[in-house]
C-alpha cells in the first residue's frame, strides 16, 4: 500500500455548548488515513465516533463547535476553512453516507436530480451530461434498469436501493475520502451484506479512502484494514484489524469482544457484559473514561488519563496496564488467529 497520507487529524477537540454546560464530545483525537485505506471507527453511542466524522466534514450544527486541534486534508487545515471553501470540498473531495437512507434523501426531488445536483455543482458538465453520469453511477452501484430508475422519487426505492442511491451520490464526484456513518445499521442483514460487498468492490475500483463508523465489530472485520476504538470522546485503542481482534490491549476492547455472542463458535457460553453505563461527558471523569467500568482499574486510573503506549509501530493503547509498573493482565477474549470456521 502506498503510504501517502490523505487525512491527518491532530488533537481534535469538539464540544457542544448546551444550556446546562459544555459537553466535551471529543477530547483530543488524533489519527491518520492513507490514500486508498479503509479504517473503521468503533464505539457505542456517545463515544464521539459520529462527532469525529461530522467535525471532519465541518457539518457540526449549533451548539457544536471545534474547540481545538487540526484536520489536515492533503496538508490543508479543514478546521480553518471558511464555509464557502468547505462547500467546494464537501461532496467533491470528501463525501459522506449517512445512517438513515430514508431521511437523508429529499422526498420531493427525483433520485436523478439529487445525484445531478452534486455533479453539476462540482464538475463542468451540462445537464444532459450530468444525467448520463447519474445513470452511470446508479449502474455502478447495482440499481437495475438505471435509465428508468433515475426518474424515480425516493419513496419508489426500497431501503437497500436508497442506500445504494446515497452511495452513488457520494461517489459521483470521485471523492478521495468517503465517510460512511453507520451505513448499514438501518438495513436488514441480507441487504447489509449486499451494501458491504458493494463498498469493498468500489474501494478497489475507485481507490477511495474510507472511514467506516459503526458499532458492529463484524462489519469492520469484513471491510477495514485498521480499527480505531473510541470511548468517552477519546481513542482507547488503535491498530491493524488483526491486532485489535487477536491481540487487543485495552480492557474496553476486551469487554466488547467478550460481550458479543459468536455465531461461528456456537455453544451456550454465558455472555460477559461490561457492567455499568458510559460516562456523562458533561462532567467527564478526571481519569480514564473507562475506569468506572473496568474490572482491572487501579488507583491511578481514576486520577489521571493514561498516555498512549505503543504495542508496536501501528498499534497503540491508552491504558495504564501497559505501564511497566502495572500488574500483567492476560485476557482470553475467545477470538483466535488462524481459524477459518
Amino acid at each position: 500500500m502506498k503510504n501517502e497520507k490523505l487525512l491527518e487529524v491532530k488533537d481534535l477537540k469538539t464540544s457542544f455548548f448546551t444550556h446546562v454546560g459544555e459537553v466535551k464530545a471529543i477530547r483530543g483525537v488524533s489519527f491518520n488515513l492513507d490514500k486508498g485505506e479503509a479504517i473503521g471507527i468503533v464505539g457505542e453511542s456517545g463515544s464521539g465516533k459520529s462527532v469525529t466524522s461530522l467535525s471532519v466534514m465541518r457539518l457540526l450544527q449549533f451548539p457544536g463547535k471545534i474547540v481545538g486541534g487540526e484536520i489536515l486534508f492533503r496538508g490543508q487545515d479543514l478546521a480553518k476553512k471558511s464555509e464557502k471553501e468547505m462547500q467546494a470540498i464537501r461532496g467533491n473531495e470528501i463525501a459522506m453516507i449517512f445512517q438513515d437512507p430514508m431521511t437523508s434523501l429529499n422526498p420531493v426531488y427525483t433520485i436523478g436530480n439529487q445525484i445531478m445536483e452534486a455533479i453539476i455543482r462540482h464538475q463542468d458538465l451540462s445537464k444532459s451530461q450530468a444525467k448520463e453520469k447519474a445513470i452511470e453511477m446508479l449502474r455502478l452501484v447495482g440499481i437495475p434498469s438505471p435509465e428508468k430508475r433515475v426518474d424515480n422519487y425516493p419513496h419508489e426505492f426500497s431501503g437497500g436501493m436508497r442506500q445504494r442511491a446515497m452511495i452513488a451520490m457520494a461517489l459521483s464526484c470521485e471523492p478521495s475520502l468517503l465517510i460512511a456513518d453507520e451505513p448499514t445499521t438501518a438495513l436488514d442483514v441480507t441487504i447489509q451484506a449486499q451494501i458491504l460487498e458493494l463498498m469493498k468492490d468500489l474501494k478497489e475500483k475507485i481507490n477511495t479512502s474510507i472511514i467506516l463508523i459503526t458499532h458492529d465489530l463484524g462489519v469492520v472485520a469484513d471491510v477495514c484494514s485498521r480499527i480505531i476504538v473510541m470511548y468517552g470522546g477519546l481513542i482507547m485503542e488503535e491498530g491493524a484489524t488483526e491486532d485489535i481482534f487477536y491481540n487487543p490491549k485495552h480492557p474496553y476492547t476486551w469487554g466488547l469482544l467478550k460481550s458479543i455472542p459468536r455465531l461461528d463458535l456456537g455453544g451456550k457460553k454465558r455472555l460477559i457484559p461490561i457492567e455499568g453505563t458510559p460516562p456523562d461527558l458533561l462532567k467527564p471523569p478526571k481519569g480514564c473514561p473507562f475506569a468506572a467500568r473496568c474490572p482491572y482499574a487501579m488507583k491511578v486510573c481514576m486520577e489521571h488519563i493514561p498516555p498512549y503506549y505503543s504495542v508496536d509501530e501501528k498499534h497503540r493503547s491508552m491504558c495504564w496496564l501497559l505501564d511497566e509498573r502495572a500488574p500483567r493482565v492476560e485476557v482470553d477474549t475467545g477470538v483466535q488467529r488462524g481459524r477459518t470456521e
Binding site: A193, L196, E197, E275, T277, P278, E341
Partner: protein
C-alpha cells in the same frame, strides 16, 4: 438448557393475520397485506423459541397476534388448554396476566408522565393483585430483581438510560407473575456493551421463575445464543424451524443459508475465508407476494415448480422442519 419439560405451553395453528388496505376514492376496493399467512409452531414450557427474519417478514405481527394485541384473521392460538385466539376481551382477561410482552423501544414504551413505581404498579392494579403497602413492596422487590435501585420507584422514565429503561419494561412484564413472555426485539435499541447485560438478566429470570420466552429479533447471533429452538420467517411464512444448534449447523432452507452467511463475523480470518451467499434484490411486497414459494424471486436454486406449488413444511429429521421443494 431447560429440556426437562416436554409439556407444550403454547401452540399456534395455521395462524393468519391480514391487514386490509382500502384503495379507490370511496375505499371500495380492498386489498390485503398478508402479514402472517398460515404459520404453525409450538413452544414447550420453560423453553425459548427464537423467531428471526428481515423487516416485514411478519415476526412482530406473529408475536402481537399471539398476545392478542391483534385479532387473528384465521387460525388458533392454544395457550395451556384454552383457545385464546378468538376470545373476547372479557374472556381474555385472566389470560392477560399469564402472557406479557417486552417491547423494542424502551423510550416509546414507558409512559413519560408516570413514575416508574406507577408504571410497574399499574399492572398490579388492573388485575387487583396487591394494594397499599404490599403493592409498594412488590414494586421494590421487582426493581431489585432487575438490578435497579428500589428507591428509584419515585423517578420518571426520562431519568434513566436506555438499558435501565429496558429493565423497567422487564420489571413491568414480571409484575403479574406471567408464565410466558414475548420479547419483541428487546435489545436492538441498546448499545453493544449493554445488550449482554440485558440478555444475561433474561436468562437468569428464566431459570429462576421458569419462564417461557418467544424471542423475536433480527440479530441472529443473539437469537442463537438465547434460544433453544429457532424459527425463520420470510414474507409472512415460517420457512424453517429447528433446534437452535441444528439450525445454525445444518440449515436446510436456502433462505436460512443465505441469512446465516450474510452475518458479518467479528473475526478477520474467518471473515476473509468465508464464502458469502449474497441474495439479489429486496423482499417483495407482502401486498402482492410471489406465487408458489415466496422466496423463489431471490432464491439461487429456484425451479419452475417453485412458481406453481407452494412447498409444504417437511420434517428433515428430529423435528427439524423446512418448507422447500429441494428437500
Amino acid at each position: 438448557m431447560s429440556k426437562k419439560n416436554n409439556e407444550i405451553l403454547i401452540e399456534v395453528k395455521n395462524l393468519k393475520k391480514y391487514f386490509p388496505i382500502r384503495k379507490g376514492f370511496f375505499g371500495g376496493h380492498t386489498q390485503y397485506v398478508k402479514a402472517v399467512d398460515d404459520v404453525s409452531f409450538f413452544i414447550r414450557k420453560g423453553e425459548t423459541l427464537g423467531l428471526v427474519g428481515e423487516s416485514g417478514c411478519g415476526k412482530s405481527t406473529t408475536g402481537r397476534t399471539i398476545i392478542r394485541l391483534y385479532k387473528p384473521t384465521d387460525g388458533e392460538v392454544v395457550f395451556g388448554n384454552a383457545e385464546i385466539g378468538h376470545m373476547n376481551e372479557k374472556e381474555l382477561h385472566p389470560f392477560r396476566k399469564r402472557i406479557q410482552m417486552i417491547f423494542q423501544d424502551p423510550y416509546a414504551s414507558l409512559n413519560t408522565r408516570m413514575t416508574v413505581g406507577d408504571i410497574i404498579g399499574e399492572a398490579l392494579d388492573i388485575h387487583g393483585l396487591a394494594s397499599g403497602k404490599e403493592r409498594l413492596e412488590i414494586i421494590h422487590e421487582l426493581l431489585a430483581k432487575v438490578g435497579l435501585n428500589p428507591d428509584h420507584a419515585v423517578r420518571y422514565p426520562h431519568e434513566f438510560s436506555g438499558g435501565q429503561r429496558q429493565r423497567i419494561g422487564i420489571a413491568r412484564a414480571l409484575a403479574v407473575r406471567p408464565e410466558f413472555i414475548i420479547c419483541d426485539e428487546p435489545i436492538s435499541a441498546l448499545d453493544v456493551s449493554i445488550q449482554a447485560q440485558v440478555v444475561n438478566m433474561l436468562e437468569d429470570l428464566q431459570a429462576e421463575l421458569g419462564l417461557t420466552y418467544l424471542f423475536i429479533a433480527h440479530d441472529l447471533s443473539m437469537v442463537r445464543h438465547i434460544s433453544d429452538r429457532v424459527g425463520v420467517m420470510y414474507l409472512g411464512k415460517l420457512v424453517e424451524i429447528a433446534d437452535s444448534e441444528e439450525l445454525y449447523q445444518h440449515p436446510a432452507h436456502p433462505y436460512t443459508k443465505a441469512l446465516l452467511s450474510s452475518i458479518p463475523i467479528p473475526d478477520p480470518d474467518i471473515s476473509k475465508a468465508k464464502k458469502r451467499i449474497i441474495l439479489e434484490g429486496d423482499v417483495p411486497s407482502p401486498l402482492n407476494p410471489p406465487s408458489g414459494c415466496r422466496f423463489r424471486t431471490r432464491c439461487p436454486y429456484a425451479m419452475p415448480k417453485c412458481a406453481e406449488v407452494e412447498p409444504p413444511m417437511k420434517d428433515v429429521g428430529g423435528g427439524h422442519m423446512a418448507a422447500c421443494h429441494l428437500l
